[in-house]
């Protein structure tokens, strides 16, 4: 029987390796095509001389992106919106999560439920009234408008995630600090926050990448170049009459890089934070 088991195990391991190779190819080929295209001259991209592997690799497409498109402006806008909404949602979420995790007051459970509920309502149900609201407040075509709009997703999510971590910080530590003369805010800043560092990292990662990747609000609220972010900027490149896949893929590679690098660096925490509950996928 033991022999049968090992035979079974070995077969499974072999099958697993085979499946893994297929999965790696399935994941890698689109990346390859994106990067390869960005490194080709047009001659190798279109028509009879099109190649699968760049014969004469070039960075010309990258140069074109910077020279002939407002890509740098889009990049700057994306960074501004991502940083702004991350900082704001962080402050709001830390306070809210602390209140829900530690303070006892009527309506606490109801508010906690409300937070999770709003996090799960998809933006495609909200973008029409949000567009009307933003137009009425004259916040369309503005980075401030986007920063504010993104709070609607970031705050509920970050609060929910932090709430769990704050609860895992032993109450005794905080009480000791308060006996020593620390008030609530002091206990939050000196005791709870340092102990929740992994959660703060995850929350920063999610709100930053969310703002960086967001498309629908940015697309609907923005109609001028000055307030376009990277995602809507690239879609705008595509919808122009001339398709220029070389530069488009070059800018796609550059725009995908920041979130991918962040993900690889923070992966351990991100996966943990994500599997604690659920994350918009």
């Amino acid at each position: 029987m033991a022999l049968r088991m090992t035979a079974q195990r070995r077969a499974l391991q072999g099958l697993g390796n085979g499946v893994l190779v297929l999965m790696l190819l399935w994941t890698a080929i689109p990346f390859y095509w994106m990067i390869a295209t960005s490194l080709k001259y047009d001659k190798e991209i279109y028509g009879y001389e099109a190649t699968l592997i760049p014969q004469r690799p070039t960075l010309a497409n990258y140069a074109t992106v910077f020279r002939e498109t407002p890509y740098l402006l889009y990049l700057r806008n994306s960074v501004a919106v991502a940083v702004g909404s991350t900082i704001l949602s962080m402050i709001i979420a830390v306070l809210g999560a602390y209140a829900i995790a530690r303070l006892n007051f009527p309506g606490r459970a109801f508010l906690a439920r409300g937070l999770v509920f709003t996090y799960l309502v998809p933006t495609s149900l909200l973008f029409i009234p949000m567009f009307a609201l933003m137009s009425a407040l004259r916040l369309t075509d503005s980075l401030h408008g986007l920063i504010i709009a993104y709070l609607g997703f970031d705050v509920p999510f970050c609060t929910w995630l932090l709430m769990g971590y704050f609860k895992s910080v032993p109450v005794e530590l905080e009480e000791a600090a308060r006996v020593d003369g620390c008030n609530r805010v002091g206990a939050l800043v000196r005791i709870v926050l340092p102990m929740s560092l992994p959660a703060l990292v995850v929350v920063t990662f999610f709100s930053f990448t969310h703002a960086w990747n967001e498309f629908l609000y940015a697309y609907v609220f923005t109609s001028t170049t000055s307030a376009r972010t990277v995602t809507t900027g690239l879609v705008n490149f595509m919808s122009q009459d001339v398709f220029f896949w070389g530069p488009l893929m070059a800018s796609t590679v550059m725009s995908a890089l920041p979130p991918v690098l962040m993900f690889l660096v923070f992966q351990r925490w991100v996966v943990k934070g994500l599997t604690l509950g659920g994350v918009k996928g």
Binding site: T27, F215, G277
Partner: protein, 320 residues
């Protein structure tokens, strides 16, 4: 619910506070009360929820009974928007498309994600490296993935046609995104490529949380690998199956950017799903905000069942 009562204990005032007048004393006391502090701390979050989710949502409901364009006040027209939708072939096609698209995409992501998780759960050289790599599609902005795939599917010079022609498998290139019979399939492929890692991550975490002793005990009892899978692995993963599937169903059905970038709902509405139809009606020229909102809201009752269920589950995990 189970907040430790000790957090509400009012600490004995340190003697230094005696110096304050009775008024300052009272303010101090009120401010340090849980109730005041709780509402104070939560106020910004409540403002966000009400202003950016609850109010827009309520105004969407009102809009569905109006003929409204952006910037102008709406005119009440009763149920006309809904009546028009239910009499339109386009809307009925959209309902069918949304259901087919969501079921197929979530089902495929589930199966692929489960296989990936099982494979990654085996012991192997460099496994962590493979795991990181397989998760990358999830970290890439969805817009970038959609653009990249649009180019892969390109009629004339895309990767797929390029390779198929080279291998002499086809004489004429295939229009993956504009052929009415292939467009939906192509969109689903992209959605699956991007969304599988989410399932992989969730399932892998679930697998790693199963105690090894269970398998060892089963092995001693002579259970086959298949029996171990159906009697230990599957039941243990069940809660994660439910959570991940529901979450993905909400987000997949509501995702707009893949269809918008790949096919824009075409050809001949073959890939029109509710989020895209709602966008077209509300902002694609005619600016019928009420109609657009009505399309989304008709789907909301289905979503709300999932949302309420998930809310309960996610709060239970946090000990609420």
């Amino acid at each position: 619910m189970a907040t430790v009562p000790s957090t509400t204990v009012s600490l004995p005032l340190p003697s230094s506070r005696r110096g304050l007048g009775w008024r300052g004393d009272r303010i101090q006391r009120v401010l340090t009360q849980d109730r005041t502090l709780g509402y104070l701390f939560l106020f910004p979050a409540i403002l966000v929820i009400v202003g950016l989710v609850a109010y827009p949502f309520a105004s969407a409901i009102v809009m569905t009974f109006q003929a409204k364009t952006a910037g102008a006040p709406g005119r009440f027209i009763g149920l006309d928007n809904y009546r028009e939708l239910f009499n339109s072939d386009q809307f009925l096609r959209t309902v069918v498309n949304t259901v087919v698209y969501t079921t197929a995409a979530v089902g495929a992501k589930f199966l692929l994600g489960l296989s990936m998780a099982l494979v990654l759960n085996q012991e192997r050289f460099c496994n962590n490296l493979f795991r990181s790599f397989l998760l990358i599609p999830w970290a890439i902005p969805t817009v970038m993935s959609a653009l990249n795939w649009r180019w892969i599917f390109d009629d004339a010079s895309g990767l797929i046609n390029n390779v198929l022609v080279r291998l002499n498998l086809i004489d004429e290139t295939i229009s993956w995104l504009s052929n009415p019979n292939l467009a939906m399939l192509s969109v689903i492929v992209v959605v699956v490529w991007q969304g599988t890692p989410f399932f992989t991550m969730s399932f892998l975490a679930g697998l790693q949380a199963i105690p090894k002793e269970l398998y060892e005990a089963a092995e001693i009892d002579g259970a086959s690998v298949l029996q171990q899978f159906t009697h230990i692995t599957l039941p243990r993963l069940h809660p994660i199956f439910v959570t991940a599937t529901m979450l993905s169903a909400i987000l997949t059905s509501a995702a707009i950017q893949f269809v918008l970038i790949l096919t824009n709902g075409g050809p001949a509405d073959r890939t029109m799903i509710f989020s895209v139809l709602s966008y077209h009606l509300a902002l694609g020229g005619a600016q019928r905000l009420g109609m657009g909102a009505a399309v989304s809201l008709i789907f909301f009752p289905i979503l709300v069942v999932f949302i309420v269920f998930l809310t309960r589950r996610m709060l239970r995990e946090k000990g609420e």
